[in-house]
């Protein structure tokens, strides 16, 4: 029983630690914004092809 609980604790700790490690790296090095900044020019390609009724 004790062994099982310890295993659960260890797994939870590893998952939480991994989550923190990855997300904090993304946060601190601004990787989220660097990725979205790279996406922006591609989006303009999509927007330029949307059919619109442009007029005054």
């Amino acid at each position: 029983m004790k062994k099982k609980a310890l295993k659960v604790l260890k797994t939870t700790g590893l998952v939480a630690g991994g989550f923190f490690g990855v997300t904090f790296t993304v946060y601190y090095f601004n990787l989220d914004m660097k990725m979205t900044a790279a996406m922006q020019p591609l989006l303009n390609y999509v927007y330029d092809r949307v059919e619109r009724d442009q007029h005054l």
Binding site: Y27, Y28, N30, D32, T36, N44, R52, H55
Partner: protein, 530 residues
């Protein structure tokens, strides 16, 4: 490879010796985004990280909905929402402790509110969700409009199309309005019109507004440029989309008693128009609930302003400006979450005041920020304090009505709504005569013990430009340092962010003969930045 000693020396070089603060200018790149996020010390960095996780969760929840994905790829302005976390970073730059917590309480809530607005727009939008039943409950409102006349319609949705497409977009990305300004000019609008209504008109011409709603209420609250833009927008709405529009015309001389009956009648007419087109009836109980919340928000704002008159201001600069605009004009007591946020902010501020907390190591100048601020550089206020130790105690758009609304008298309530409509942010100063724009500024300087006025000069705004000489004359007479900051509101191609900073830098160096608190912020390569 650097050894440990060299690394320590490098870190020390980038830290402010007095307050464990990084040299913020070193985080800038010449691209869209920063090198990395700021290190604020362990506790504040962890707090900021947790709030960032919350924002990412909120954005993730928004984008997993198929309707929102469709909206994201339909509207060009939606790409600006990629920059939401960065906008919050820009407005929390250099903040620690209570200032950081106040900023997150406000900005995270505003971000959530905008996400909800987008969801609702896409739900009813004929191009995206096309939920016709929902659309029948939508009243479209002008972004420059007090939404008081919606306080008695709890089952209707009051949605602004211009807010997410233009107003918020420019806060997120300084270049957001440029494609729409260009489109409006391609269709013959002159380049010297205020870029705000110009961009809104451009969105309409480009067929980039969501189409929905049982009816729409437009207003005359800002200026003639706004009326011009509204004309083009309402033509498309009424004649092509079949959405009837009401023009709510509030009197310009709003301090005069003899215009109040006319203003009140406009409110009665607006309510009757909405009732006619939606089939919903005005609910006085709901109105008075909202009025109580407006009154509580006003009391909190007054408390913050009182604190800002002392040596230890607490809710000022960016933390005062954008939140006041949202809460006063767009929310109008309709959402309890904003009053809860007010209470939280007051709690943080009172605690910080008790501890005599300061946002930067040195408060060199106490400033009142006047005029219409540049939207593409809203975080300029935080730059003022971080770079030069100039504390923006309050700004023109935060000095709005503090009148207590009636909480039980129906006749008085109509006049209260009319009063608020007349006293929309900015308009309560740019219209109504020189007393509200010019004379009261010097009263505020005295009350707040300010030695400096940062005077935004929006070059396409005729309401303010005409009084340039009178401001100068009075400032000289009163011995107040008046620093003009020219800009073109939504268009950084005319005056860039660095162009704005240079006007302050020149005055600080040549007149005050001072050195910046953080020299790395004086010149920044942010022309291409979001």
């Amino acid at each position: 490879m650097m050894d440990a000693k060299e690394i320590a020396a490098k870190i020390a070089e980038n830290l402010d010796p007095n307050k464990d603060k990084e040299r913020l200018g070193t985080l800038y790149t010449d691209g869209k985004v920063r090198k990395r996020r700021e290190w604020r010390g362990l506790e504040d960095t962890m707090y900021d990280y947790v709030r960032w996780l919350g924002i990412m969760g909120m954005l993730g929840k928004f984008i997993v909905k198929p309707r929102n994905i469709k909206g994201f790829f339909r509207y060009r302005w939606m790409q600006n929402y990629l920059a939401v976390p960065m906008m919050i970073d820009r407005h929390t730059q250099g903040l620690r402790g209570s200032y950081l917590r106040i900023a997150h309480t406000e900005f995270d809530l505003v971000a959530q509110d905008v996400a909800l607005l987008l969801e609702n727009l896409f739900k009813g939008d004929r191009n995206v969700g096309n939920d016709e039943e929902f659309s029948k409950k939508v009243v479209l409102v002008d972004e420059n409009e007090m939404t008081t006349f919606m306080m008695g319609f709890p089952n209707l949705k009051c949605l602004s199309r211009e807010t997410p497409s233009v107003y918020v977009s420019v806060l997120l990305n300084q270049h957001a309005a440029e494609p729409y300004i260009d489109i409006a000019q391609e269709y013959g609008l002159p380049g010297d019109v205020c870029p705000m209504p110009e961009a809104e008109m451009g969105v309409s011409i480009a067929d980039d507004f969501p189409v929905l709603g049982a009816c729409a209420v437009q207003c005359n609250t800002t200026c003639d440029g706004s009326l011009l833009g509204n004309g083009v927008i309402s033509k498309r709405l009424e004649l092509e989309d079949g959405v009837p529009c009401f023009q709510l015309a509030a009197p310009l001389r709003h301090r005069e008693d003899d215009v109040q009956e006319y203003a009140a009648q406009e409110i009665r007419n607006t309510i009757a128009f909405i009732e006619k087109h939606t089939g919903h009836k005005w609910d006085w109980d709901n109105y008075f609930e909202c009025a109580k919340r407006v009154n509580e928000s006003t009391r909190h704002r007054l408390d913050w302003l009182e604190m800002n008159k002392t040596d230890y201001p607490q809710v000022f600069g960016s933390n005062l400006a954008l939140y006041t605009e949202t809460n006063y004009m767009a929310i109008c007591g309709k959402l309890p979450a904003f009053v809860e946020a007010d209470r939280k902010i007051t709690k943080y501020a009172e605690q910080a005041y008790k501890n005599r907390a300061m946002a930067v190591k040195e408060y060199r100048h106490r400033a009142i920020v006047w005029g219409v601020q540049s939207h593409f550089y809203f975080d300029f206020l935080i730059w003022l304090q971080n770079c030069w130790g100039i504390i923006p105690l309050t700004d023109m758009l935060s000095m709005v009505s503090t009148r207590v609304l009636s909480e039980d008298d129906k006749e008085q309530a109509i006049y209260d709504m009319a009063w608020l409509q007349e006293n929309m942010i900015m308009r309560n100063r740019t219209h109504g005569g020189y007393k509200v724009l010019l004379d009261e500024l010097w009263d505020f300087c005295e009350e707040f013990n300010a030695d400096t006025v940062i005077l935004w000069e929006h070059m396409a705004c005729k309401a303010l430009v005409g009084m340039h000489g009178q401001f100068e004359e009075k400032a000289r007479e009163k011995g107040i340092h008046l620093i003009w900051v020219k800009h073109d509101l939504f268009d950084p191609r005319i005056v860039s962010r660095q162009g704005i900073r240079d006007q302050i830098n020149n005055y600080m160096r040549t007149v005050f003969m001072e050195e910046p608190l953080d020299p790395t912020l004086e010149v920044l390569p942010d022309d291409q930045s979001w």
